[in-house]
Symmetry: C2
Subunit: 206 residues, 2 copies
Amino acid sequence: MTTEQSFNTMPPVEDLTEARRRLFETAIQLFGASGFHAVSVKDLMTAIGQQPGALYFHVASKQDLLMELVDLGTRFHRTQVRRALLESGSAAPDQLRGIVAAHVRAHLEYRDLARVTIRERRSLTEDQQARVADAHQETTQIFRDVVDRGIRNGDFQVPSPELAIRAIASMGVRACEWWTPEDPHPMAEVVDQYSTYALKIVARVS
Amino acid sequence: MTTEQSFNTMPPVEDLTEARRRLFETAIQLFGASGFHAVSVKDLMTAIGQQPGALYFHVASKQDLLMELVDLGTRFHRTQVRRALLESGSAAPDQLRGIVAAHVRAHLEYRDLARVTIRERRSLTEDQQARVADAHQETTQIFRDVVDRGIRNGDFQVPSPELAIRAIASMGVRACEWWTPEDPHPMAEVVDQYSTYALKIVARVS
DNA sequence: CAATGAAATGAATGATCACTCAGTTGAGTC
DNA sequence: GACTCAACTGAGTGATCATTCATTTCATTG
């Protein structure tokens, strides 16, 4: 097993032409750095080395492009958390450690995508938000299921599962805002520590 | 002692004319809801019931207005954390509980201001960011001092104080994004729970 | 080598952007 | 009742915004 780290801006996606993939990657970087509304179509296309109008060969609108990015980020996040649960054992603490690690890692490996997905969801139209809501809800439900099960069988003990999950998720969500590959704490350490914090938060008080 | 909750958009500020205060409050609400770049000068001044040009009687520019709001939020946050430390006893766990409670409460009582302060710091110019940096740094240092002291005297035990503080702060910072006064969990419960989580994170493993 | 079609150009569209400024309003002061 | 002054109006400025579209480029295919 290699300890190789990936610092791509976009997770692997099928059915994506090279030109589209390059557009998406650039958009993720610029939107992630400055925000959707702060980046103009001219800014975006100049960064790719093209004219503004070329955007509309690939997407219907700037708004539509954002939708695709947020959708991509939300689905990727769900995929990673889902997989982590599948690869965990049946013990609730192991499961929680697994999904929190996946959650944090997703936000650190693809920081710009995570920033866009988190920050710019409110910039989507109501219809667009509805289209993304399901995938996000499913990810939340996985956390809820794991914590609830841990509470039922006595592994965890916490006054409010909702608050605990919000707190746990917050650590990972915020991580993409401050962590960089140059940080003195390597990604693996952050992932490990934050997973431990999650377990401490829901730990049974004996 | 009353248990009265305040849901104003702006903390009390001296030396502020009524017209300016109204402008600031509206700006905090609109910028907090949609983001600085998504709100035009026309949007902002229409919400106050004035012409766009009237803005420039009160501030030099839209950018300058943002600077004042972020500065306000950053200083208020520091004030609250500072005060909480002063009002705590000498025991590190009590101090940590106090400053975390103040941190979370500041983000819940003034959600829009917190959102603007957190999200839009990157929208400031470099000079403006530098002007805000000191106040923010001082707040961080308070957390650092409390945790470090707790570690030295054996109350706390954690592999990395930096990571623990980031995690603890994240819970409060994110809270202004999801909590509302209509939430089933009242503010006091969130504040109390999150303070407890903070103590659990840095707790000595015996 | 002619035909095709995906990809991008370059110039234009009207709308909206932040911002300016000379003039108006109206409440308070001498 | 003339004067002051903070607050705001209303009509504009040029720049930039997202978007459109007829045309061009160029690698691939028949």
